[in-house]
Subunit: 250 residues, 2 copies
């Protein structure tokens, strides 16, 4: 598998196509409905681009880098040749009516066109029902990263779940803190030294052992005062659920 | 107010007593029930230490650096001279039966004896019902930090609440992610590049605008799959509460 069709021209497409090209693969084309971003990417890669399915040239592997809610639609159009999507959450079920070789190559990283990334350190998780195909995928992605691993589909789901907690939900906690301070006209900058210091805890083998705060101390007086302070009932639920989890789970 | 009695010999006592001494204040004594840690700290500061209340020498201000659940007990013993505690959550109510000048000096930082900290960047929030005393406290703590600010007690509560979300709860999200991966025998190291990349979002003026993930996309198929995957009902509640908050609050 030498010739790769990249579907999509967003952040993931950008980083993966450059990494594949740099590792000696030929990017046959960029297929994307957005001709502005695909033209830009194609000129970087020095390859062709199109938004018309009839103009798609010969390729060995299609790498789908579109948003989760567009995957099913695109998969239905590319049902002849080997294809992978790159989503941690969509699973193999999007391929259920397909006869072509198919799988998932999930890079455990958040990509932004304008941010350099050390692709060699990004773990790639590979899922496929086809034993030969998944080995071939591993071979390909080991060329761009030191960490390419074949795993079962249900494990991928749980790794994605962990990523949701570690990224989406941790970000939400920072965002809530920021909004509480903004409502106070207090500067979020004041909290940053503490956040940076606290963040170092993730280096620990067992982060749980480094818990601090009212819930860790089972200080229900403070917990109840905080719950009184919070006006938004949805925020109250978050505070209650996390505090319950900490107080009941030493 | 030149002579300061430090009560406690833990992490906060350690950093504050050194900072006060370095700013020209005289630490009259370390008062602590733990003679091992107080001896160590006293030798660093070159001052006296004791665990007997009768041996406490003359001082101008007592700075209470003990655990939240010990504050009330210690406050009751030191009811003659000016005193402050350093807790973000205990409030002024611990002083309600006291006639001496009292207040709160809350450093918005997590302290560890073995970790150097740039004390000049730590924001100190000052609360007191006495107008003259709180100005005096501000004067003192502006000598050790560029950021000492007098605020109302209810604002302190909300700043502390923000700190709980930004630190205790964000840490819990990382810890949950780690536990999910540990249950998979999957290495948390795999998630770290993503966590570091994602963490940079806190630099944004409005973190909320940088949300990603299933809840942000209102992808209820994935949200429900995740909820099915989670076995611990308390964890399910956390997932549900945060996802509800994100999907209902753009």
């Amino acid at each position: 598998m030498k010739k790769i069709l990249i579907i999509g021209s967003g952040n993931v497409a950008h980083h993966l196509s450059i990494a594949l090209k740099n590792s000696g693969f030929e990017i046959s084309q960029i297929f994307s409905r957005n001709l502005i971003t695909s033209k830009k990417l194609a000129s970087k890669i020095r390859c062709d681009f199109t938004n018309e399915i009839e103009k798609v040239q010969d390729y060995d592997l299609a790498v789908l880098c579109v948003k989760d809610d567009e995957i099913q639609n695109v998969v239905n159009q590319f049902d002849k040749r080997p294809i992978v999507h790159t989503s941690g959450s969509s699973g193999l079920s999007v391929f259920k009516n397909q006869k072509n070789l198919n799988g998932i190559v999930y890079p455990l990283q958040t990509f932004n066109k304008n941010t350099k990334i050390n692709i060699n350190e990004v773990p790639f998780f590979i899922v496929s029902d086809d034993i030969v195909f998944k080995k071939e995928l591993k071979r390909i992605f080991l060329k761009i990263s030191g960490k390419a691993e074949i795993i079962a589909e249900d494990r991928l789901k749980r790794i994605h779940l962990a990523a949701v907690f570690a990224c989406n939900f941790s970000t939400e906690m920072y965002s809530i803190a920021q909004e509480i301070l903004m409502a106070e006209n207090s500067d979020f900058e004041n909290l940053k030294p503490l956040i940076y210091q606290n963040f170092k805890k993730i280096e620990n083998n067992k982060i749980k052992t480094l818990r601090t705060g009212p819930a860790k101390r089972k200080d229900f007086t403070i917990i109840n005062k905080h719950l009184e302070t919070i006006r938004d009932p949805r925020l109250k639920k978050i505070y209650q659920a996390i505090s319950d989890y900490i107080t009941q789970n030493d």
